[in-house]
């Protein structure tokens, strides 16, 4: 019996099948457990019940414009990195009904007051947790608090996972976000072949382990986990030089490279949809056929959509060149002015899911090289 002595920072060894019990306990406490699941040849984040739903023995192999699943045959559940989707879909729903306006003589508003689900996110990577914290600065500001995001954020349970095998598109080390978790999770898993190491990160996380008995990890197990994490950080192949990125990008709005990348970019908005920090949204009206009521929805939008910057006098960014420039100078530049941090965590999704294989680390390097010459 060691549970009474568990404190924040303690690590225990959890036999893999017992993860099912933790997830069941989370559900018993009112949480909806969502995590990685193999579907349609990719990893998506969706409702999961336990180990049976996790992508056992699957690895993702990612490259610009390429995403393939590979079977490893190993008893590992979290080898894939990162999922095609990010967690932002749970905290910032892609479509959310705000209210109905109903005409019955006069117009009336019917607010959507459905209670927010309480999510337990299973398998959050360090880059993804950093992205959640970046979105906190956007949605939970002093001068603007998004009620939809806030309700979901404040009742969140985060079961983090340390990355041991970064993919070819990952560059979280450059962005200072990973691959190892440092804090701000409830529980954090490190997966070895036959056991999970579980670190306690919060009182909420500790309370989930209360009343259970666990083994302390042996020095050997602890050591293998540490070695694996060090190896992961060293295995990161992609890098981005972040020195004075805002100055580099916003100071070179007339660089030739913008024109060049503008010719390759399809303005499809994939990068903004998979990005865990992109936050732009639109509001639309869905009118019933009689014109007596209309539902107002908040939906994701993207700075690559042609209508995004349209005013009646025309579009302020009619060319793809200016849309790509807006996206990159915002994410790696003006974001810092607005929210105090850069808007990139190095997850590499925008590289993988760009149908043209545009790689932002390569674009940054090209602009750096162009400016030097």
């Amino acid at each position: 019996m060691i549970d009474k002595t568990l404190t924040i920072g303690s690590t225990i060894a959890l036999p893999k099948p017992e993860l099912d019990l933790l997830l069941a306990d989370l559900r018993g406490n009112g949480f909806q457990t969502v995590g990685p699941h193999l579907q349609d040849e990719s990893i998506i984040y969706t409702n999961i019940d336990g180990l049976k739903d996790l992508p056992r023995g699957m690895l993702s192999e990612q490259a610009p414009a390429s995403y393939r699943m590979i079977q490893t045959g190993k008893e590992r559940y979290f080898d894939f990195i990162p999922g095609g989707q990010s967690w932002k879909q749970f905290l910032f729903p892609p479509r959310y009904s705000l209210f109905n306006a109903v005409k019955d003589g006069t117009w009336q508003l019917q607010e959507n007051n459905e209670p927010a689900p309480h999510y337990a996110l299973i398998g959050v990577r360090a880059c993804e947790l950093a992205a959640i914290h970046i979105q906190d600065k956007i949605f939970l500001r002093e001068d603007f608090s998004d009620p939809i995001c806030r309700a979901r954020r404040e009742s969140l349970f985060i079961l983090a996972v340390n990355c041991l095998d970064p993919d070819a598109t990952c560059f979280c080390v450059s962005m200072g976000c990973g691959p190892r978790h440092r804090a701000a999770f409830d529980l954090c898993l490190t997966e070895l072949d036959d056991v999970f190491l579980v670190e306690v990160g919060s009182e909420l996380g500790r309370s989930l382990l209360f009343n259970r008995t666990f083994d302390l990890p042996s020095a050997f197990v602890q050591n293998s986990a540490n070695l694996a994490m060090e190896r992961a950080a060293g295995a990161m192949m992609r890098t981005m030089d972040t020195s004075d990125l805002p100055g580099l990008l916003t100071g070179n709005l007339d660089a030739e490279r913008w024109t060049e990348v503008g010719k390759r970019c399809l303005s499809c908005a994939n990068c903004t949809l998979v990005c865990p920090t992109c936050f732009c949204w639109d509001a639309t009206d869905q009118v019933d056929i009689l014109g007596k009521s209309t539902r107002r929805d908040r939906v994701w939008d993207s700075c690559f959509n042609p209508n995004y910057s349209s005013v009646v006098g025309g579009n302020t960014r009619p060319n793809i060149r200016s849309r790509y420039r807006q996206w990159l100078t915002h994410k790696l530049g003006a974001w810092k002015d607005q929210f105090g941090v850069l808007g990139c965590v190095g997850c590499g999704r925008c590289i993988t899911w760009c149908p043209a294989g545009i790689d932002l680390t390569e674009e940054v390097n090209a602009i750096r090289a162009e400016v030097k010459t």
Binding site: A116, D143, A283, D301, C303, A334
Partner: protein, 292 residues
């Protein structure tokens, strides 16, 4: 089963969703202004909302037409001059604004606001004021004109430069006499005259060649097409008016008014909350960047 220490405040779901929720307002007066342009006066249905509502000239509301959506429309009056009514001069050109052309007295619209920064009417007290506007750029400045008239003694020389496409497009013509009586030097120009037009034909910035500017005590307030503002700024700077005394008001696609939806970003700014009125000093590093 383990009972966890939950964040009970969050778990009790005490939040209501107020995002983009408008208050209803009714049309109390409709004034046809020019071809395709109408001035509406609105009043909130809920007297409590109406009594709390305050705004400054230069700010804007998000006007909601159910079924069509919202549009950012600037206040075109001064709060005190219009006894707290919400006055909006609207050009019927977009999806939402075309729908407003069918509004009748008593009809309801949704309103959220006011949002954004206002003209710096206190900061420029004691100075000469040049107001340079074109087309639908006059309505956002009309409240400033009314405020200046009510406090006329606090300002030096006041010059209003106003340009429209044709004489038919001139807005608020019935007020021009009152403005001039209040010692506002008004200069009007059109792009194309008609048979009865005896005034000037030309563009707004050229009026700078017709008067002298004391650069140490002149403030310029400008709103209109960006190409017009660009040359107004150029002429003002050429006369050594410092860029911190030039104020611009910008139009961008806006969906929220609170710096949240992202649409109106330009450089470090959200135009809806950091603007729409900016001292040109803050904006000059990006003002002329094409398509930024």
């Amino acid at each position: 089963m383990t009972t966890m220490l939950l964040n009970t405040a969050a778990h009790s779901a005490g939040y209501t969703n107020k995002l983009l929720l408008p208050h209803w307002a009714e049309v109390v007066r409709i004034i046809p202004e020019a071809e395709g342009v109408t001035t509406f006066q609105f009043k909130f249905i809920d007297p409590e909302v109406q009594s709390r509502y305050r705004f400054e000239p230069g700010q804007f509301n998000m006007l909601y037409m159910p079924g069509y959506g919202e549009a950012a429309i600037s206040m075109s009056s001064d709060f005190d001059t219009d006894h707290g009514l919400l006055t909006h001069t609207i050009r019927h050109i977009g999806n939402v604004t075309k729908a407003t052309s069918r509004l009748k007295v008593g009809d309801m619209v949704g309103m959220r606001g006011p949002f954004g920064t206002s003209w710096p009417l206190e900061a420029i007290e004691g100075m000469d004021v040049v107001i340079a506007c074109g087309g639908i750029g006059l309505p956002p400045l009309r409240g400033a004109i009314h405020r200046i008239i009510r406090n006329r003694g606090k300002y030096g020389k006041v010059i209003l430069l106003y340009g429209a496409r044709t004489p038919k497009d001139l807005m608020y013509p019935s007020e021009y006499d009152a403005w001039q009586k209040a010692d506002i030097e008004m200069q009007v120009t059109v792009d194309r005259g008609d048979d009865d037009w005896t005034g000037r034909v030309g563009v707004v910035p050229m009026w700078f060649y017709h008067f002298r500017v004391d650069p140490h005590k002149t403030a310029v307030l400008t709103c209109g097409p960006e190409i017009m503002m660009r040359f107004v700024i150029y002429e003002a700077l050429a006369r050594r008016v410092p860029s911190e005394h030039i104020y611009i008001s910008l139009e961008r696609n806006m969906k929220c008014g609170q710096g949240a939806c992202g649409h109106c970003q330009q450089g470090p700014f959200f135009i809806c909350k950091d603007g729409p009125v900016f001292p040109f000093r803050a904006f000059e590093h990006i003002f002329n960047v094409e398509e930024y």
